[in-house]
């Protein structure tokens, strides 16, 4: 077998280099979208629908327009017509129809943000309200099968004789697990600054991909892609919700068009619960069949989830089940309810994150049923090849992660009986779950490297740093690819004026952007050596490389794996749940930066802890909206909720994934955490919680 032939020798790669953009961020010099200085900005505040289905019969903007300082009031009656309404999420203000509560039905542009917000409250709207339906239930009669699930995967799979295996197995399990609706909630709100001029539209936008953003909004606005210029050097988090354009970009562009001014819009935290996506709640029925030794004979994972009536997003919740364990008979399915709700979207590890909750708790239940240690059960069901494709894994170290984690966590001393450890009023338990995430590769990224005699290497690529450390890690990769020091690299990212870069999504950034840089560096060095005798010509030299196809991707199944261990305490009197300890052991290929990499993994695990115990967007059935739409009521783990969180990685050498040998780490950390916590809570109390979040009422007696 041949490996990727341009493998880097790591020098800068792997070092715990501090963020190069760190000083700018902590001193406030790093500019986020809303802070970008533009001449005479006007401010936009949206008007949102207060019904979940129906139409607007009258919209009275008189009082708002009379307010001093108001420049324009946008409604469906005066908004610019969009060139394309194919994307119904983005096709705002094009008709009187209301598709979900909180949808944009207007906006006020004013000289200050305060005037705009005040005037927006003066817009009076009358509706013809239609009955709405926001109720996700497994017994709905209108569930449908989407053609594909995100990002274009098979909706259903069936291998072997599942029913026969279930009927004849010594041990079977059939349980239903649910995960809640979650909102991405990055720290920086979704923000747009829109400016029109003769060249077209300039957007300062908080986005996970400048090129992806303009590709999604240009056709809506009827512009050639090249006429939309997107600038975004820094992003305060996205978690998927800034993966492509949401309606606020269109509203800001419309407002700037109508007023001829540069328009600034920053969504409020409350508005972010209506307009920029979320993770669908899921209902997961899991059936397992095994022999007495815990050898799986069948796995069935049937998922029910929601999408919006106006636009489909089908989360790929069951796909990880297709790869995880060596059961000869497997079946997975996804069914959707189309509801009068906002459009769901990517949220950190879409698919794998919710989809590893049900099965990994089920595995714990199976371990109990078989009288087996849950680590051992997983080891026994380790597949030799990808169960779905029959391909070998490029590297798969789940077993090593489980063993290393068990050793570090003190697993050997564990009494498997639940509810046996108590300390000062707390019941104590430990749990384990597996973690996985694919190695994604999105085609199309390019990188340019330019050098002049005595100068630094300018490395240009329209990549995004959403807080992950891209500024630093791409600099390290470029340094190693050029065999120079990181000080010799001047990286530029976050601008559509730079070469095309794919979105920061699917943990694919380093694979796609890094490989393009390595390709460019190889070409540059070849030309320097072949044409210029190894020295930089007086006129300088510029080359462009691209993400090459990876023939090994056809031969191997490429995934990261990990093992998550949790210690949980449940208070005997109140049922309060605490997680004093999390340990994640991951096989993720080579880590580019030990410091930012660790941050990604422990950040993911912390978000998984938050999912396990706290996060829950509560849908109000009568109103058709999320009731707890602010940070006082939508709980995210606080510092006091997070104890020791440790992430380590194995020395994993994968020669097939990309020249860096890296697999992508932005999402893996959140996968499996909630299951490990739920399994530990069971071990602490003997109470099996199958619905997230795990709250104190489950344990009260």
């Amino acid at each position: 077998m041949t490996a990727v032939d341009t493998r880097l020798v790591p020098r800068a790669i792997g070092a715990p280099l501090s963020r190069l953009d760190g000083p700018d961020k902590v001193t406030g010099a790093a500019r986020y979208a809303f802070e970008q200085p533009v001449g005479e900005p006007a401010y936009l505040y949206p008007v949102q629908a207060t019904i979940a289905a129906g139409r607007i019969t009258r919209i009275d903007t008189g009082a708002a327009e009379k307010e001093p300082g108001v420049l324009a009031v946008l409604t469906h009656e005066n908004a610019p017509r969009l060139a394309s309404t194919d994307d119904a999420e983005l096709a705002i203000l094009q008709s009187d129809a209301v598709a979900y509560r909180g949808q944009f039905i207007g906006g006020v542009v004013a000289e200050t943000s305060e005037i705009a917000r005040h005037a927006a409250g003066l817009v009076r709207v009358q509706y013809e309200e239609h009955p709405h339906d926001v109720d996700l239930r497994a017994d709905r009669d209108d569930l449908y099968k989407p053609e594909k699930v995100n990002p274009g995967l098979e909706t259903d799979t069936a291998d072997g004789d599942v029913d026969g295996a279930l009927a004849s197995a010594a041990v079977t399990l059939d349980e239903t697990y649910t995960t809640a609706m979650y909102h991405n909630n990055p720290m920086e709100p979704h923000t747009t600054v829109a400016i029109w001029d003769e060249q077209g539209l300039t957007l300062y936008e908080s986005t996970q991909g400048v090129h992806a953003l303009r590709r999604s909004v240009a056709p809506v606005l009827g512009l050639d892609t090249e006429r939309v210029h997107v600038i975004c050097p820094h992003v305060g988090g996205g978690f998927g919700s800034k993966g492509y354009g949401h309606p606020h970009v269109i509203l800001a562009a419309m407002a700037a068009k109508l007023t001829g001014r540069a328009v600034k819009l920053a969504l409020t935290r409350q508005q972010m619960f209506f307009l920029v996506g979320y993770r669908t709640p899921t209902i997961q029925r899991v059936r397992l069949a095994a022999d007495r030794d815990g050898q799986l004979t069948a796995i069935v994972h049937d998922v029910i989830e929601q999408t919006s009536r106006i636009k489909e997003f089908a989360e790929q919740t069951a796909v990880s089940t297709r790869k995880m364990y060596a059961a000869p008979n497997r079946r997975t399915s996804h069914r959707l309810a189309a509801l009068d709700v906002p459009v769901p979207t990517w949220m950190r590890a879409p698919g794998e994150c919710p989809g590893m909750f049900g099965p990994e708790v089920a595995m714990d239940e199976l371990a109990v049923a078989c009288g087996l240690d849950p680590v051992e059960l997983r080891i026994r069901n380790e597949p030799a090849v990808d169960p779905e494709t029959g391909q070998p894994f490029s590297s798969r170290n789940l077993v090593a992660c489980l063993r290393e984690g068990a050793s570090r966590f003190g697993w050997a001393d564990r009494d498997p009986a639940p509810g046996t450890r108590r300390e000062q009023g707390w019941r104590i338990g430990t749990g384990v779950a597996a973690s996985t995430y694919p190695v994604h590769r999105i085609p199309g990224s390019k990188a340019t490297i330019r050098v002049e005699p005595g100068g630094r290497y300018a490395v240009l690529i329209g990549a995004a740093d959403i807080g992950t450390g891209t500024w630093t890690t791409l600099t390290q990769i470029a340094a190693d690819a050029l065999e120079v020091s990181v000080d010799d690299i001047a990286l530029q990212i976050g601008d559509t004026a730079l070469p095309m870069a794919s979105v920061a999504g699917g943990s694919s950034g380093i694979t796609c952007w890094g490989s393009a840089i390595v390709d460019a560096a190889g070409k540059l060095r070849a030309r320097l050596s072949d044409e210029y005798g190894g020295s930089v010509p007086a006129s300088g030299l510029e080359v462009t490389g691209e993400l090459p196809p990876n023939p090994d991707a056809e031969r191997f199944s490429m995934h990261s794996f990990g093992a998550q261990f949790a210690e949980v305490r449940v208070h005997e009197d109140t049922g309060e749940v605490r997680v004093p300890r999390l340990l994640g052991v991951f096989g993720v290929g080579r880590i580019i930066n030990a410091k930012t990499g660790r941050s990604q993994l422990i950040g993911g695990m912390t978000m998984g802890l938050s999912m396990a115990l706290h996060e829950h967007s509560v849908m109000d059935r009568n109103l058709g909206q999320v009731a707890n739409h602010d940070f006082a009521e939508y709980h995210i783990a606080t510092n006091a909720d997070v104890g020791s969180v440790e992430a380590i990685w194995l020395d994993e050498d994968d020669p097939y994934v990309n020249p860096m040998g890296s697999k992508g780490i932005g999402e893996l950390g959140i996968v499996g955490t909630a299951a490990a916590v739920a399994n530990a809570a069971y071990h602490a109390t003997g109470v099996r919680v199958r619905d997230l979040p795990i709250t104190l009422d489950a344990f009260l007696r």
Binding site: Q48, T50, E114, R117, H118, G121, Q270, G425, D573, T574, G575, E576, R578, L613, H614, V618, D620, R621, N622, L623, A627, N628, H629, D630, A632, E633, H635, A637, T638, N639, A640, D641, T695, L696, D697, L700, R701
Partner: protein, 329 residues
């Protein structure tokens, strides 16, 4: 946010006079709740009279063995006060369990008492809410019930009072000192808050223009052994599902005196008088504690979404009293 005017009060009398002349004016303390409500469009005062800088900023021991807390004393300062920590630890603990350090640095004693419910529907002007807009209906009753009341609610409103400090004050027999257009008066905390009945828009018995100047705590030597236990959905920065403020005096194994107040259960801090009655003279045992709180909670009318609060309140009261008794299981 509606446009509004701002004035800084020179003294209490002029602050009161200004409000009397302005039916839509409001006093501004730390602003940690009022300003939020203004941003959300829930509160729409046309004039803010800033009383945070009035000289009600001291915590003073009184000759009768009690303490007078100025209405402008910041929550952080009150929690750190040595007299409070020594004589009324339940109050310091309650303060520190609330909000965040930044908020406590701004929030005042008077403002804390007057914070409004955090009911999600009250805070969202696009939804029906009888407290915000009388007669519009209650979204919570058939909606998100987790944080709602189990005691003393009405068909019109099932909201809970969010303050931790006020729960401790209820247990400590505090008296709210008020200056109004008709002079000064003292209102026992137990009578300060209203249950919602059919006027949920009125949280307290204060009239327009009445300014809180101080909170008096009577001498209560046994409160030196007192405790605040707050149970919530995360370890910090969350409102109480259930909280318990308790002080206990035990002599020869029997309860000589006791104070119990509950938070997170009602429209007001809930003084558990029935439980206190049942306990006075009873042996200080788990069985007594359980009987007493069961007597209190027999009036509970939980909803499907918050029925867990009944056992949670019972368990939390019992374990808090046991902790105070020093009985360790």
């Amino acid at each position: 946010m509606n446009p509004f005017r701002y004035e800084r009060a020179r003294d209490a009398a002029s602050a009161v006079a200004t409000l009397v002349g302005s039916p839509n004016a409001a006093f501004l303390g730390g602003g940690t709740n009022l300003v939020d409500l203004m941003k959300l469009g829930v509160a729409t005062p046309d004039l803010l009279v800033d009383v945070a800088r009035l000289r009600f900023d001291r915590v003073e021991a009184t000759p009768d063995g009690g303490v007078r807390i100025g209405a402008a004393v910041r929550n952080s300062d009150l929690a750190a006060d040595a007299t409070i920590r020594g004589r009324y630890p339940v109050l310091a603990q309650a303060l520190l369990s609330g909000a965040s350090g930044q908020l406590r640095n701004l929030a005042t004693t008077g403002g804390n008492l007057l914070q409004r419910t955090r009911c999600v529907y009250f805070q969202d002007v696009s939804t029906p809410c009888n407290k915000r807009e009388p007669g519009s209906g209650c979204s919570a009753r058939e909606g998100y019930q987790r944080y709602m009341a189990i005691l003393g609610a009405s068909p019109a409103c099932i909201a809970t009072h969010p303050s931790d400090m006020a729960v401790a004050l209820a247990a400590l027999d505090a008296v709210v000192r008020v200056q109004g257009p008709d002079g000064e008066r003292g209102i026992p905390l137990a009578e300060f808050y209203r249950l919602p009945a059919d006027e949920p828009q009125r949280d307290t018995v204060l009239g327009h223009g009445e300014l809180i100047t101080a909170v008096d705590l009577p001498a209560m030597p046994f409160a030196a052994r007192s405790r605040y236990r707050k149970v919530r959905d995360r370890a910090s920065y969350a409102f109480a599902l259930i909280s318990v403020a308790a002080a206990l005096d035990v002599a020869d194994g029997d309860v000589r005196d006791v104070r119990i107040a509950l938070g997170g259960v009602a429209h007001a801090p809930w003084r558990a008088r029935r439980a206190e009655e049942a306990l006075r003279g009873a042996p200080a045992t788990e069985a007594s504690f359980r009987r007493a709180i069961d007597a209190e909670l027999s009036a509970a009318q939980p909803l499907p979404g918050n029925a867990f609060k009944v056992p949670l309140a019972r368990n939390t009261v019992v374990s808090t009293l046991l902790d105070l008794t020093g009985e360790l299981r």
